[in-house]
Amino acid sequence: MGGMGRLKGYLLRYWRRYLFGSVCLLATVTLVMWIPWWMREAVRIMEHGGSLADVRYYALLIGIAGTAQGFIRTFSRALIFNAGRDIEYDLRNDLFAHLQKLPISFYHSQRTGDLMSRVINDISAVRSLLGPGILNFFNAPVYFVYATVLMLSIDVRLTLVALLPCPLLIYAVRKFRGRIMRASLRVQQQMAELSSHIQENLSGMHVVKAYTQEENQIRDFVRLNQDFQAKSMELAKLRGLVSPVMQGLSGLTVLFVIGYGGFRVIRGDLLIADIVAFIAYLSVLAWPTAAFGWMISLIERGRAAMERLEEIFKVEPAITSPAQPLALADSREGIEFRKVSFGYDAKGNGDAILQEIDVVVPRGRTLAIVGRTGAGKSTLAQLIPRLYDVSSGEIRLGGKDLRSLSLAELRRTLGYVPQDPFLFSTSLNRNLAFGRDSISDEEIEEAVRVTRLDRDVAIFPDGLHTVVGERGITLSGGQKQRATLARALLLDPPFLVLDDCLSSVDTETEDKILRGLKSALKEKTCVIISHRISAVREADEILVLDEGRIIERGTHQELVLKDGLYADLYRQQQLSEELEQI
């Protein structure tokens, strides 16, 4: 289904309103078209020295038609424009719902700004196509046909002369359209270049300053800026032509009527009344004519925007619940990795991040994972809530393959706390309650206490109601991490995955938090990833990952005795702790 196909579905949903709007539009045009006709009648009476009452009869008719026309026009415009707004609303909701289904890998491949621009600007452009675009698309031909027929019925030759500039008009519209589109594309490209120069300059500001390249940077910028200005001016020159040309052409039609028509009046085979009617018809046509080019570009832009939206709609949600999900029930099994391999490039084995991971975490036990940066620890953690799906092998939770469970149930059963904390720009307590429909103050206070946030909260300006700012910017890294931990604990999930989620918290506080958690975690099945040995030493089993493989496994004692990577990490940690204390 192409973008326009999808749009048709939305249009059909509101067909009644479009139909009613069109009927109103037709009624409006009809009334508008009779006014010059009645003017002609009135002037004809005056030309022949008729009675005042007869003229005033038409004056009254015109006044009534004018008023009625105003009312009906309000309806037609409001109906059609508002239908456009309704479709905009539907489309935006549907796109948002679709975005929510797309996996995290999709968001890594897209820039936030670009996605936002589609949801905001592109949908807005589509709406312009649906409201003003459609209105004018119907309006213009109706006006032209109506007026032409009526003018023809007054005088064929005068009509032909009056409409003489029309072919020129069509020619002008076609010529401008292509050239303006090309020119504005060039402006956009130059703008993109200018922005990326600015972007690069700002990102590399330390280099610019260190090498005193300010002048050179300004010089380059001035050059790009001049190019941009020249290209914008090219576009302005073209754009500026549109309205005077259209205006001039519709002026010419009036001139032809006065010149040629006046000649005929003098010759005696045409009435001044006919001239008056023609001038009135032509002035009615002036606006649809002037708007012609604008309308075309509105439609073009709307179509292009719809295609861009379709690109997103076309992306299949890669990670979904199965059609018939199995129930987790109250199985007594924990988490099991069976020959799990993973690579970000589909099934490409070349860049495998994880290879052949085999491990069982029995219910109620804790598995810890350590290893150097880039060993694949976080990736392993992300596989459990199905942020990514395994490339081969399977992960079982409660004895069932993750992919056979309902995504919602899986994620509700699982608390996953990422290393990089994300908070919403609302108050702290709303952030903590994020996963819950309702929550008591006591529960929040308990979570705050366990994660040792209580002392921080005490000095926050509004306590728990303090707004944390965008991405939690007003909090320190450690505070953010502890808040995200509290948020997950408030779900009270039977399974918990902690991905180095206290890395920015100092060792001492981390120890206290972990000790405080001990009773809370007693019955939970946990996977804990940490770069600190102190956080993992009490785990039931510890895995040491290196380059995506398990290179050591065992308890703390066993691993220290093995004198491998784990023992190395342990020694280094002791050293840096010693260093801290000097």
């Binding site: 004056a59 090498y211 300010e214 500026g240 709303r430």
Partner: protein, 622 residues
């Protein structure tokens, strides 16, 4: 119990006050549409083009004359020549009408052209002014302000100002002058008919005002609500993982739906106002024709006026309503232009905190010694990063700085180039306090190589010369040869002209490091400041880098944050930073003997490297 959506903080009545807000998505502010103070500042950018500006302004009366002459000429054609059957007269009038029509088209075009010329040129100047100003802002400014926002200032905000010129928002005054003209002409033509036509104008004026007022309010609501959708969306997209993990898709969809519906409602309300306004103007046109016929027909039948006068009146009335109708649109354009101008000027007003003194001191001869004397520095108040740091480096001496993360090493090298100003003490380069130096001259003497090598998009040559065209190609080629980067470059078909993609993404980490070393050799500074990269590279490249480093450091005063064992071994002196203070100074051997902080740092950071490097050394010799 508070169950409101966690992410939905943007409730009505919660608008940030005027002034730049902290969120990039919530920068819409609503101020006056015609703020004299801002207009005066904008005018300063127009001054260089004021001749063109006044020329454009002078065209306005001409444009109006051509436009307003047309109905009058129609009247004359109908009343004087058609009625009296004067063909020659009619032809004359037709010719005049042609002049007026063509004249109007030509002056409209010229006016637009000149206005856009003035706009484009002065706004291009404004962009350069912003860009140049930003170059002078201290690093601390860039620490605080996201890049995206500054880009917006130079692009989107300036575009909004251009929109103001294009939409003719500057010509509001002349629009009103035209209204006065129309009234004058109508009275000249026929007083009673003028009164009849104008009778419709006061009620229309009130009606238009009524709807315009509401439409404007609705429009403001729309912009607030779209800003809210923007903010919500930005957050939802960045936090999508959290939403999915907590299975809050339903809730977040309902929140979004609420914002979306509010936006739709505001728009639909505004549509109704707009439709009413538009229809009323159209209806008034028709009704005024009825009125004209009602009262005018008597005059026509009595022979006081001709039919042409009625036609002219009809045309004048329709020309009267157009500017009234457009005013509300121009007003909103002006309003957003003023808030953009406000933001731009706010940026331009940001003080250049770190500037060269008026009478900079140039040390002669410059020998390249560096000294820190009791330096205290903090990025944020009350959290000092350096606490009374003092050391001295002699010309040509090679000093390595070591310390744990956050000990103050990186800050020290940033202070040397005066990226930040210290709170206490003094930093001297060549015996002169860095605050006494000309900033540019100071930085030209110091070559900085940072961990994260930044390459600009463009070709290799510009990356090595940084766009300085005065640097001869031979010097660049020599530098590349010397810094072992030649083999990287000449493997590429375009050689020095090979394209570098954004941030140098088409080069490996090691290649980027070699290029940054070549850059130092091109500029040949007396002092080298180096933050060695921690990321590992392949053995071959590592050897090339070590060799290049050795050559680059030769004969220069060097301050190196060392991550390589070879670097600390070859250093004349090692300074050990710990918690913002210098705790130990000495050679590698001395410090190892001491068994203090350095000893532990060495064990932690370098000892693991030892066997590997040793093996590589022997490997290379073989």
């Amino acid at each position: 119990m508070d169950n409101r959506p966690a992410t939905n903080n943007n409730r009505p009545g919660n608008r940030p006050p005027a002034g730049p807000s902290t969120s990039p998505y919530q920068e819409e502010i609503f101020g006056k549409a015609y703020d004299l103070r801002l207009i005066r500042r904008l005018w300063r950018f127009l001054i260089p083009y004021k001749k063109l500006f006044w020329l454009a302004a002078l065209l306005l009366p001409l444009l109006q004359l051509f436009g307003l002459a047309q109905p009058y000429l129609m009247k004359v054609a109908i009343d004087n020549y058609m009625a009296s059957k004067d063909v020659w007269g009619l032809q004359g009038i037709a010719a005049l009408l042609l002049v007026a029509i063509v004249g109007e088209a030509v002056t409209t075009y010229l006016h637009y052209y000149l206005t856009m010329l003035v706009a484009q040129r002065s706004l291009a100047d404004m962009r350069v002014a912003i860009f140049s100003h930003v170059q002078k802002l201290p690093m601390s400014y860039f620490d605080r302000n996201p890049v995206g926002r500054l880009v917006t200032r130079m692009t989107t905000d300036v575009d909004v100002l251009q929109e103001m010129f294009a939409a003719g928002a500057m010509t509001v005054l002349s629009d009103f002058i035209m209204l006065v003209w129309i009234v004058a002409i109508m009275f000249y033509l026929h007083v009673k008919l003028a009164l009849v036509s104008l009778a419709l104008i006061p009620p229309m004026f009130f009606a238009i005002n009524f709807f315009r007022h509401r439409a404007r309010r609705a429009y403001r609501l729309i912009r607030e609500r779209i800003a809210r959708i923007n903010a919500y969306l930005g957050e939802a997209i960045s936090g999508m993982a959290v939403i999915q993990l907590f299975v809050r898709e339903g809730k977040s969809y309902r929140d979004f739906d609420e914002l979306n519906a509010a936006h739709r409602d505001a728009n639909q309300l505004s549509n109704i106002y707009e439709a009413s306004l538009y229809s009323m103007v159209e209806a008034a046109g028709s009704i005024s024709i009825g009125l004209l016929l009602w009262y005018g027909s008597g005059e026509v039948l009595a022979g006081v006026i001709g039919i042409g006068t009625l036609v002219a009146f009809k045309e004048y009335i329709s020309r009267f309503f157009v500017p009234l109708r457009d005013f509300s649109q121009k007003y909103t354009v002006m309003q957003s232009a003023m808030s953009s101008a406000e933001r731009i000027f706010h940026l331009l007003d940001t003080p250049v905190a770190i500037a060269s003194p008026t009478n900079p001191i140039v040390p002669k001869p410059f020998r390249g010694e560096v000294s820190f004397e009791d330096v205290w520095f903090s990025y944020k108040e009350d959290t000092p990063v350096l606490k009374g740091v003092s050391f001295r480096i002699e010309p040509g001496e090679r000093v390595a700085v070591v310390g744990a993360t956050g000990s103050g090493k990186t800050t020290t090298i940033k202070l040397l180039s005066r990226f930040y100003d210290i709170q206490r003490g003094s930093i001297k380069v060549g015996g002169v306090d860095v605050r006494e130096w000309d900033l540019q001259a100071l930085r030209r003497h110091i070559g900085v190589v940072l961990q994260d090598v930044f390459l600009f998009s463009g070709d290799i040559r510009t990356n090595l010369s940084l766009g300085d065209v005065d640097i001869p190609t031979e010097r660049i080629e020599q530098a590349t040869k010397y810094a072992n980067v030649e083999r990287v470059i000449y493997r590429l078909p375009a050689g020095l002209g090979a394209q570098v993609r954004e941030r140098g993404s088409n080069f490996s980490t090691g290649q980027r490091q070699l290029l940054s070393l070549a850059r130092v050799l091109v500029f040949q500074p007396e002092i080298l400041v180096l933050d060695e990269a921690t990321s590992s590279v392949d053995t071959e490249t590592e050897l090339l880098i070590q060799d290049a480093l050795e050559k680059v450091m030769e004969g220069r005063t060097c301050l190196v944050i060392a991550h390589r064992l070879s670097t600390i071994r070859n250093a004349d002196r090692i300074i050990v930073f710990h918690h913002g203070e210098i705790r130990e100074v000495g050679t590698h051997a001395e410090l190892m003997q001491k068994r203090g902080i350095y000893y532990r740092l060495y064990e932690l950071q370098y000892a693991t490297e030892e066997p590997k490097v040793a093996a590589e050394d022997t490997g290379a010799k073989m």
